[in-house]
Subunit: 543 residues, 2 copies
């Protein structure tokens, strides 16, 4: 019913509508193609067979706990792949045969090993300038090489994605392949919001699994907000005891250590956000005095943003942030700074007095005053990231502050920030919570942050990356994974791959069919990514 011809693709200009329907999936999945697309890749016709009894990962260069864990993880991925394939083959395919016949000159026998050559010692944590470049050569003795553990991790994921199954054959195969690969952007993030709805630790870990499969490297954890305060503080236990939705809906120190360590093992940074001075209503359940009283007709009508004139506010922030810095080793700390309800500040007689005493004429100067006092509280341990309002309102920011742009699609908001010499993270096009135009992924795919800027006087390398934002208003454990994936995968590929000079029918088909495979691959690995391209199914050959 409805839509006899289903074209879900924003690239649909390439497909002429027709009343001729072909049975089967709208777009067949590719087999053994990598998502996100590698920078350089050559595939040959010759191929090898995966035999878990034969194949092994071997370490030729440096090693460390991250590499050991990765070898264990990918050994398990390949075993499961092989197991699913065989189980299904036995169950439903009446006539299958092994492709490993001497008669086929392209067949080169069993894959022996992947030699992993890490050329430098492991770094302890991933970071903004992390090196993710790797080279991979698949042949009888395959080789993966990188100057960095992070490159090795990306290469192992690519390696795992090269396997496929040929229809009618029971073997898991991999073609001889050469890859040299590195990301276009160093910051490829996903925001999750655990204040509007609590997300279980299990689902945060699953999100990290999905991020690894898509080579994303920053989990931006918008941990608290107006609605609830699930961060459990040792210094200020009342914050979550009173401010969480329920005393059981919190992230303990142990939870955070687990999440940070799980992310690190996958080359993913965990960037904490404690949004101030707005979006802080839940802080005020336990500590009402740090919030501003909002007035109407001379009466207090509720509590608003943090009170920038109250020293207790800064004391609490400073003490709390030092604790948060202990738990989150990342070199950046997201201070928020967006959507401050200045109407409340302007309504408060004490703040009006304060402004006039300090020669301030508009409440945005209070915002500047506040941020100027908060940023130094981070000390040397971390550098600030802020939402664009903080820059827009003229706060003097340290030059190494990153500004995250979310308000306007396109170049407009980025230009002044770049002109001021700041690094930019771009999010405006990638608000995953917005379903206004349906919930496809292709509209996310057509945006490349740097390509939006046409002037060449700016240093476009200062656009360090972008972020898909999965705000939590209508997302909880029931739909987080299926709504995030594969829409975030589109952002992941755009931020990794070399830009397409111009979309053609074949490049669009390449993207669409690889996306189909990537979703099936995520499904096979236990991530409930939703269907990307209309009618279809995950064939067993998509491993």
């Amino acid at each position: 019913m409805l839509r006899r011809i289903v074209i879900f693709n924003a690239f649909c200009v390439f497909f002429a509508a027709s009343y001729i329907v072909v049975p089967g999936p709208a777009y067949p999945a590719t087999k053994g193609e990598i998502w996100p697309k590698p920078q350089q890749e050559t595939k040959e016709w010759t191929y090898y067979k995966l035999s878990p009894a034969v194949f092994k990962f071997t370490v030729k260069g440096k090693t460390c706990d991250i590499l050991k864990a990765a070898i264990e993880r990918y050994t398990s991925v390949l075993r499961t792949t092989h197991h699913i394939a065989w189980k299904h083959t036995k169950k439903t395919w009446k006539k299958v045969e092994s492709r490993s016949t001497a008669a086929d000159p392209d067949f080169k026998g069993a894959l022996q090993e992947l030699q992993i050559n890490l050329l430098a010692p492991c770094e302890v944590y991933p970071h903004l300038e992390m090196n993710e470049k790797y080279s991979l050569k698949v042949s009888g003795i395959s080789k993966l090489e990188s100057d960095s553990i992070w490159g090795i991790l990306r290469g192992m994921e690519s390696f795992a994605q090269l396997f496929y199954m040929a229809k009618g054959y029971k073997d898991v195969l991999i073609n001889a392949t050469q890859i040299v690969d590195f990301p276009r952007y160093t910051y490829r993030g996903l925001l999750i919001d655990t204040s509007r709805h609590y997300i279980t630790v299990a689902n945060i870990l699953k999100t990290l699994d999905a991020m690894e499969m898509n080579k994303m490297n920053v989990l931006h954890w918008h941990i608290v907000d107006d609605q609830s305060f699930p961060y459990q503080s040792e210094k200020f236990p009342q914050l979550s005891l009173q401010g969480a939705y329920d005393p059981s809906m919190v992230y303990t120190k142990t939870n955070i250590i687990q999440i940070v360590s799980y992310a690190r093992d996958r080359g993913i940074r965990v960037l904490p956000e404690f949004d101030v001075p707005g979006h802080t209503r839940s802080w005020g359940v336990a500590y009402p005095s740090i919030l501003t009283k909002c007035y109407q007709y001379g009466q207090v009508v509720g509590l608003g943003p943090m009170d920038p004139t109250n020293n207790v506010t800064y004391k609490l922030i400073g003490d709390l942030f030092r604790e948060v810095q202990e738990r989150f080793p990342d070199k950046y700390f997201h201070l928020g700074g967006d959507e401050v309800a200045m109407e409340c500040w302007s309504s408060n007689p004490d703040l009006i007095n304060f402004m006039s005493e300090h020669n301030m004429t508009k409440p945005s100067e209070l915002h500047a005053y506040f941020m100027t006092k908060v940023i130094p509280l981070l000390g040397q341990k971390s550098k600030p990231i802020v939402w664009q309002e903080v820059f827009d309102e003229g706060v003097k920011l340290p030059s190494d502050t990153i500004v995250q742009v979310w308000k306007t699609v396109g170049a407009q908001d980025m230009i002044p920030i770049l002109e001021a010499g700041h690094k930019v993270v771009y999010s405006s096009s990638w608000y995953l919570d917005k379903l206004d135009g349906g919930d496809g992924w292709s509209k996310f795919y057509t945006v490349d942050p740097r390509q939006q800027i046409t002037t060449d006087v700016l240093d476009l390398n200062n656009i360090v990356g972008g972020e898909a934002c999965m705000w939590g208003e209508v997302v909880d454990d029931t739909n987080l994974i299926s709504r995030t994936w594969p829409r975030a995968s589109a952002v992941a590929e755009i931020l990794w791959r070399a830009p397409e000079p111009q979309y053609s029918l074949s490049s669009v088909m390449d993207i669409t069919t690889r996306m189909e495979e990537q979703v099936c691959r995520m499904n096979h690995r236990g991530i409930q990514a939703q269907p990307p391209n209309g009618p279809g199914f995950c064939p067993i050959e998509t491993l």
Copy 2:
């Protein structure tokens, strides 16, 4: 981030935006309120405590296997409810006390039993005219009475929904309540589509669980379509062997027996749809000769709808439908009939000849010719339901044919059908696959099919109900449940409850907060309904 004030409700006209934020959920859940809203309900202050060791269901009137299964099912629901409550209480609530103190005059002790008084023998299967009326009186000895097993089932669900937990108290409570209840519409359906994506039997059963919780009574199973043919036929095994996405992605005879029986136990009809003559491309993988060859510039360019001039077509349809009628006991059979690609018929030289031989001037007459030959194939065993195109194109339909309207929101398409004396099922406003305006439920709530018709010359009782349609293009096992629920719950309530004369702030709050409870209740019973109203959580008191 974004939306400091979140109003997700289409009724939002009642809520003035403000910059004052209150921490916690956007809308708190009610406690022990029923969804869909009963026709008449009186609650008292006095209350009882649920003690699984004490409480029992007792049968006072007739009984049958459906009732026995229901008692088993709801015994388990109440036990689980009680268990969850106690487990959670022990774990996270530091200070709890039993509310069962002699000091509280409203407390009337433990709930003893629910006496179930079924006044007439059970019917074998639910049907269009099924009687779902019941009366329920909760007190020490509670009573549920109905003339029909279907009314008893509805009453048991209402009974289970009356339980709640008071914050700070560890007991599961129920207030003394009197209910007289019956549905406004006799047909309250949900369409699922298993052709665009295969849905596992487990998820179809879960869908039936959710339908029971929302008192929906028709599962419209759009089982096959262009993309795949998952119905496994004994007479024509090649249909699914070749036409299913994969030989494993089929519904066997055993599967269908299980689904129909599971549905019957819950008072839900299973209405099979085999859409003809369009949407049949997958039939043609095994039987290409029953489809029309489409021509362009004198060349065959593909296959289109069924060939209405081919006797083999009717033979196959007749034989297959007889088998389907054996498996699906419902008294109705959905023949589809929508969106026929007549351009293909008009392009085929043989069909052009046939038309001229039969004095037909337009291809819609071929459609009429086709349907006129197919409808009698149902014989006496089932009556037809068709999509509105069949009526719109002037096919002479038996008077007992039901016409399903989907094309135009509002009265326009229903009027001529009602004038012709047919029964109508309305779906136009309830296409759950459309996310154009986001994915809230409130836009579905504001439509009452009969209220759209203002003329009083028509028999509005002929609008027998409505159907929420979850087309499967972008829905598979990963997101079927969370995308269907609670959006279908809105349709379920509108089709059950007495119409609201005018929405007021209090009625909107009643609906919104009951919806919040209903979603939490579904979550607690293992159905991953997504969050309905913005930020929030499921408190343990919502059982």
